[in-house]
Symmetry: C2
Subunit: 388 residues, 2 copies
Amino acid sequence: MNNFIFQNTTKTYFGKGCVREYLACLVRNSQVVMLAYGGGSIKKNGVYDEAVRILNEAGKTVVEFPGIMPNPTYAKVLEGAALAKERGVEMILGVGGGSVMDCCKAISMAAVYPGDIWEDFWSKPGIVDFSPLPLGVIVTVAGTGSEMNGGAVITNEEKKIKTGRDYPACNPRFALMDPSYTMTVPRRQMVSGGFDTLSHMMETYFSGPDTENVSDDMAEALMRGVIRDLRAAVRDPGDYTARSNLMWEAAMAENRIIKLGKRCDFQCHLMEHQLGAYINCNHGEGLAVLQPVYYRHICGESPGKFARFAVRVWGIPGEGKTEEGLAKAGVEALAAFIKELGLPSTLRELGLTDENILKEIAGSCSLSSGSYKKMTHEEILDIFRECF
Amino acid sequence: MNNFIFQNTTKTYFGKGCVREYLACLVRNSQVVMLAYGGGSIKKNGVYDEAVRILNEAGKTVVEFPGIMPNPTYAKVLEGAALAKERGVEMILGVGGGSVMDCCKAISMAAVYPGDIWEDFWSKPGIVDFSPLPLGVIVTVAGTGSEMNGGAVITNEEKKIKTGRDYPACNPRFALMDPSYTMTVPRRQMVSGGFDTLSHMMETYFSGPDTENVSDDMAEALMRGVIRDLRAAVRDPGDYTARSNLMWEAAMAENRIIKLGKRCDFQCHLMEHQLGAYINCNHGEGLAVLQPVYYRHICGESPGKFARFAVRVWGIPGEGKTEEGLAKAGVEALAAFIKELGLPSTLRELGLTDENILKEIAGSCSLSSGSYKKMTHEEILDIFRECF
């Protein structure tokens, strides 16, 4: 194990009925609560009604902040922060998936910070020496794992940059995770969320050091679990075991445990973020298009690790195969799984029509420092073109 | 996944050089620091000198509390608490393995609690509605995983009861884990500590629910890791990869992550604790004697789970075998591993000479509520006799 520092301050309440059981207690110290959510799906599945009823019964002043979009924008963050200041919000309660949670984290900073949080904390890393507004979340989609970390990916539409930062001060105080809330998530979103989880694990796993270490041991077990549980949830969307496993796997992928002592690559996420900034595609679907092509590109740089992935994660028998052959077989097993799930495999399927814009998108991508291979913008352009 | 609540407040600093790098900063808010340790091995390997130098350079008043014994006694807890009160200790710094850490947790409560902590918190579970003294630990032995939880096992010699409680308020504020500190731990202690870790994982794993769940997925990966790393560390005691993995595996076994949604059995620990209370044996060695015999006794109650253990943890091929056959093969693989490590397999080897005392020890054991089979004191006596 390489050196690391670990702490995770979020208190997690997991399971059927957890909102009804704990929400009132968790907001007891705040009178004015901002209820932030997305496009309104929570109004159809009863989650909104339940949260509002509990807040009302507890006598809270509820400040509604609806309409947080997928790939939440910096403009939306500023809108939320202005509302929070105007209404004297004491706590933010985000109800939704990754977009809602990420937007709420940025609002929690912008609502108390006198300067421009984009300039000081997203365009470059900053030091958060103040306390953001307290934040709690009710998770309704399994995927980003944003519920147990301080990470927030925000899109600056004006600058065409989608970028993430992770400030532990932004960790939610509490996360309420009721797997039954995810039961009504449509198949397409469930699958893309599950793939985002798998992608988080792969981006962590495929980075040094690669000597046997506890983080990789756990990542392998979690990846096998996500594959198993996604298959089960596709087969039977009402499978609570699979849905609850997927929800906890999403959190485990991003609560830092499997990242300890690792460098973490995240080059695919950095590429997908810029795709999202330009064409506003679904995050998990963007990753599904990029990841196999990226790995075909780099697997020769660390064939041992990709061979291990083939054997331990996909169960491909290693006997009689070269390391290189196994490495490629592992990447193709991933590509086949993406197809099996019905995820897209080309940028065209994501709605991109003009190949010429790829040069600009590739040029805008940040370059990972954790990868087996330090990418160039030219190589990223090659990958994008291959994905087109 | 079953319902659960999770939080772990301990901030963990892991890796070579972490004490030198972080200790001074971590004690900055306390002037009077109690330096608590065991039999003096830290004076031989340089850990004591390093800690004292850092505390002195930071201008702290150091109150030494040496001599914490294996299986720490309630009398020792009271001695430490009296010293802490007398000298106005503001923070406890425990340097050692599980015994030191557990003793320090109990001292941290006893030093501020007006009543009798044995009566109110160890003889039965209590509610800790006060703040124990802040505690930090420097871990020097991998095994108990006490560094990342609020658990403390204390022996009341007068009442002949060794019992553990886990109060999150007792979680260390920080844990400094430098694997190079464990390099000088003698083979016997390294192996018994590693077996304690494996035992923690097995006691958690062999408990309901047994449907596919994320906690069991991770436990299987961690158990395979402990087996691999113990073998490597026995082969080459200077293998930093193995030693550092073992140190983090010990913490992962007990930082609650693999227990989430599980019932947890711990019947073997409850049996070993009473052995320890009567014959003051080494904890990991006591477990090594009991565990295979206990599992032979109960594996028929959940053959599916024990068969899974055989296949996934020990790599025993499942083809052409009955579930019952596989289940037994898994337990025998564990017994063979214990032999391979040179751990004892009879109570005689632990120093017990009089078989007649077993009835009294068996009668004093607590009964687990998480097991596949609710044990009786008669059955525990049978197991003890078989172990004799």
